[in-house]
Symmetry: D2
Subunit: 336 residues, 4 copies
């Protein structure tokens, strides 16, 4: 039985994590923390199905757990990771703090010094690409919600060296839980409802750094260049990424799809849809699955659509998948 601590249980990702862990047959949640609601219980704070006592982060009994999940703001997470590693506890971090491989990249995208550079680099927790690096890892950087779907959507082509033009356009639409639980003007119901709002488009969203880093790592042939258009969608959860890529003019749709089915054969959490089906949010809501459709728009232009639940495969579910790999358990345990 793996003993687990959750830091940041009152955010959307932490709450979702607790929900899934309660069904996990080999994990037991020992503590749940909240900076602002310590002393209360989860049911006091959130009108939902879960309950658990909330303790202050500083009071967390690190000696009683095997692994901690950090659902904390970036910057704060790295400091807690250092503390946990100092206590010999493994770490799965939801924040961006360990996703970029170098302190320089971190400074460039996050605008300040890395708070725990001695822990860099950490393996990037996308099991479908880096499974071998995650086994027994002391610290795993859980990928960003957008990069998860985007990278699973482009990886097979990159690894096949099939791009004929470096430009990859990712037109992504995310549910509002991705923006966090702290109320802001742009997450007010009336502002989101009945609208669709692009933001940070081009190459400025912080997830571009993470996507470019990983895309470069796996690409053969041309060095990919990513243009990213995030958009806030009036739904609670889910990310649909429509990805435009250039492939050889001679490729058929069947040929392109075969690259995906070959790459993901045997993967329990990637589902390549058959010809004639397009990925929708409904394909993956509430699951740890990334569903991918492959369509040839016209000779040489491929449209790959990737669907994921941003709270599951994009956050809590993938974190548990990483925990399963880290501890040598069956990868699907607690996730079906």
């Amino acid at each position: 039985m793996i003993r687990v601590g959750i830091f940041g249980a009152t955010g959307y990702a932490g709450y979702e994590l607790l929900r899934w862990l309660q069904r996990h047959p080999q994990a037991r949640v020992v503590f749940t923390t909240s900076e602002s609601s310590a002393g209360k219980t989860l049911a006091d704070v959130i009108p939902g199905p879960l309950d658990a006592p909330l303790i202050a982060p500083d009071d967390a009994p690190l000696g009683d757990v095997d692994v901690v999940f950090l659902a904390l703001p970036h910057g704060v997470a790295a400091q807690m990771a250092r503390r946990a590693r100092g206590a010999g506890v493994r770490v799965i971090d939801f924040s961006a703090d360990f996703r970029l491989a170098t302190p320089e990249a971190y400074r460039r995208w996050y605008g300040h010094e890395h708070p725990a550079p001695e822990l860099l680099p950490a393996p990037y927790g996308l099991p479908e690409l880096y499974r071998a690096l995650l086994r027994d890892a002391p610290l795993i950087a859980n990928p960003g919600c957008y990069p998860t779907g985007a990278l699973l959507g482009v990886a097979p082509l990159l690894m096949a060296g099939a791009l004929t033009d470096p430009l990859i356009i990712i037109d992504a639409k995310s549910g509002v839980s991705g923006a966090g639980r702290v109320p802001k003007q742009n997450t007010h119901f009336v502002e989101v409802n009945e609208s669709l709002a692009p933001y940070s488009i081009g190459q400025v969203h912080r997830h571009v750094g993470e996507m470019m880093q990983e895309a470069h790592r796996i690409a053969r042939g041309v060095t990919p260049e990513i243009v990213f258009t995030p958009q806030l969608l009036p739904v609670s959860r889910g990310i649909l990424s429509t990805i435009y890529l250039r492939v050889p003019e001679t490729w058929s749709e069947t040929q392109a799809r075969a690259v995906y089915t070959a790459q993901y054969a045997g993967e329990p959490f990637v589902r390549v849809l058959p010809a004639g089906q397009l990925a929708t949010l409904a394909h993956t809501t509430g699951t740890n699955v990334c569903a991918i459709s492959v369509t040839l728009a016209r000779p040489g232009l491929l449209i790959v659509i990737s669907s994921e639940d941003n709270m599951v495969k994009g956050a809590a579910g993938q974190a548990i998948q990483n925990m399963n790999v880290m501890f040598g358990l069956a990868e699907t345990l607690g996730l079906l």
Copy 2:
């Protein structure tokens, strides 16, 4: 041409007011204020169709206008009303500051002293009930969003002295714009979406004071007692109030409906639905109409359903209707 000033143009009600006034053939908006965004324009602050320069409330040229609309927090509104009245400008106040007739009632429901008691009492701006009192009034208290639909829904029976039991149950559901534009936890998209959340139920919501005051004023026979169940609905605008009342056991549904059609004959903004139709939000969205259906649930128990757009008949539209009455214009001007 009536010269108009709007205080609080960046809230939902103020913004809606500006939208309607731009189509009003006899009104011209001279200034729009914003406490927090003075110096910017409306289009800088809100991604919508409107634009106008925003000035600080203190800089408002009261000498240039005939009437001001106050879409301000309660407490603040009364102070601005005093200033405007001091300058000889008429006032239509969206806040609760002038809805209760006495400083004592205000203290009881709002918990502090009334900031401008010398202006009390002001006529209650529900033209269908108090039209004569609104003509040439220097100050009108625009009714609350919930009380508008609720009072129009119960008034005919109260005025007819038809209640056989004092208890009136009002089960009301409101769109989120009613909670204002300042982001709070309970207006976060993810908290509202796919939920329905009752709050302040029983006799504690501040609108109960206003509803009881007006119900008592118009009732014949028994003194009504209101129990009120407000609920936050995952829509942007609209209030549907389902009202349960006891009437004589001998009454037919036709007889009950006739009380309503008689009361509201000739009213341009109340629509009593024919037998077989139930009021829905869709009946009134985007209009200044209150739609009312009357159903006999069983002998002696009537279900009246009242629908209004909380931003129009429940706020900005009714304010313009009041302005039209105040200045002796056709009541429907700019509202069709």
Copy 3:
């Protein structure tokens, strides 16, 4: 391992049932039927996470299963129940066919003769009220979605003989999945979205028959009279029922709540909320729980709010709970 057949897997309730059964450690789904899509697979028909071959109902191998769930239209369900019982297979029926105890009541509410009167009466599958009758039952009538939440909300008071007036007002709001998957005008997205639509109010909705029957069965003292206001809510799932009841004028809220906590002590799927919390849809979405809040509106008038997920406690989850009871398993198996 219980061998299960599902009739009607492409409707919302059947689909939800399959989702939960796939996680049930003691159940194995042997077949899934669809009248209109036989020969296809579930993933061909519905863009969601599940897949299973769909066979014609007539081809269902009844000899291979221990129990069948009937997620079929009323009328059709009773005929299939007869066939299953003839083959010695147990039945849990989602339709209304076995909820009313007599053919006369069925004729009155459903307008035609009962198709299998020899199977009446069947136990009413609300385990919190009738657990003892469900053990080893050959046929269980799974309750309607509205009656589940309504009856759990009123039962403690009725059993305590606490009503001082027979009238019970149930103002209920349901998500759209309750209206079924066949597209109709009133379930079109644009008609539902941003609206709230009452329908069949008073004492005409068919669920009134079922609620009255069960309320009469358990009530002590006055014979309850139910007035029911169903409303279509712009959410996919969930029912919130706001219930108004008269209790002795001397009762405190604490006293009233104690009746509920006593009644439901030890119930795994009923959660009585503490003072100060009101039940919302978010309390129960995705769970088999019914959450109940108890508020004294004023002396003698109680507001009980009951929240359930209409697809889980109101349909598929309760059916599995019934299966667990029927077969002597732990009642929570597969439902946490």
Copy 4:
């Protein structure tokens, strides 16, 4: 006063048209037809604010009107257009029947012979591009909802000959009203809500034919090639099109935006947003405006985002704008 007939008043576009025409100071609606609801009134059929008698199309008094709007299915519309033209009545057609210039193009995209080829070609009713052709036109083809926003979004660059690569990617998201009022599985609330569903992607959607025809007509330099990704969005109205185009590597964002502001200077219904603002649905909901933002994603790649209300600028509003031009009225009459 222009005398107007509306064919197809119970569809979303026809209903919206009637709403706007009731405010138009120079138009009077003489009749409204409905194939399926003739003999009833609009308020009988649709729970909304409007009412009007519905007559059978065959009973429409063509002699009493100056212009008819056809909100009818394609194929049916062309036949009615022939009848109206035979009676000397002008026609503004919402269907696709007169948007393609030749019978051959129509056959290719719609799969059957054109029902009234003698009326081809008709001017394409996008006033911002073809104003001069619309004056006094006897028949105008009102553009499709998607092509309106897409063409306004690409036209300035095409007319400037600025494309450096023929490929234009249009990633478009539409509210559900665009799919019509007849209920289908893919417009069922539960299927649309909390999802996002691409359909007919690549070069197969019928609007591609219309977009390509018009893009070719106005382009200088390279012949554009359009790839189109329509997606069904869980909102009632609005289309947001994110458009990716290649421009010279030396262009600045300011330079690109200047092409748009120059092209649309003086246009009352196109709003080019200033630097730093991105177009959202909220910019245009309920208005006849198309809002456009221009962002340089990286050297040589432009992201143009175009927002429109598909029911107004994408249908009824543009039709009235066309009527105003056709009859020599001020173009904004009834549309502000």
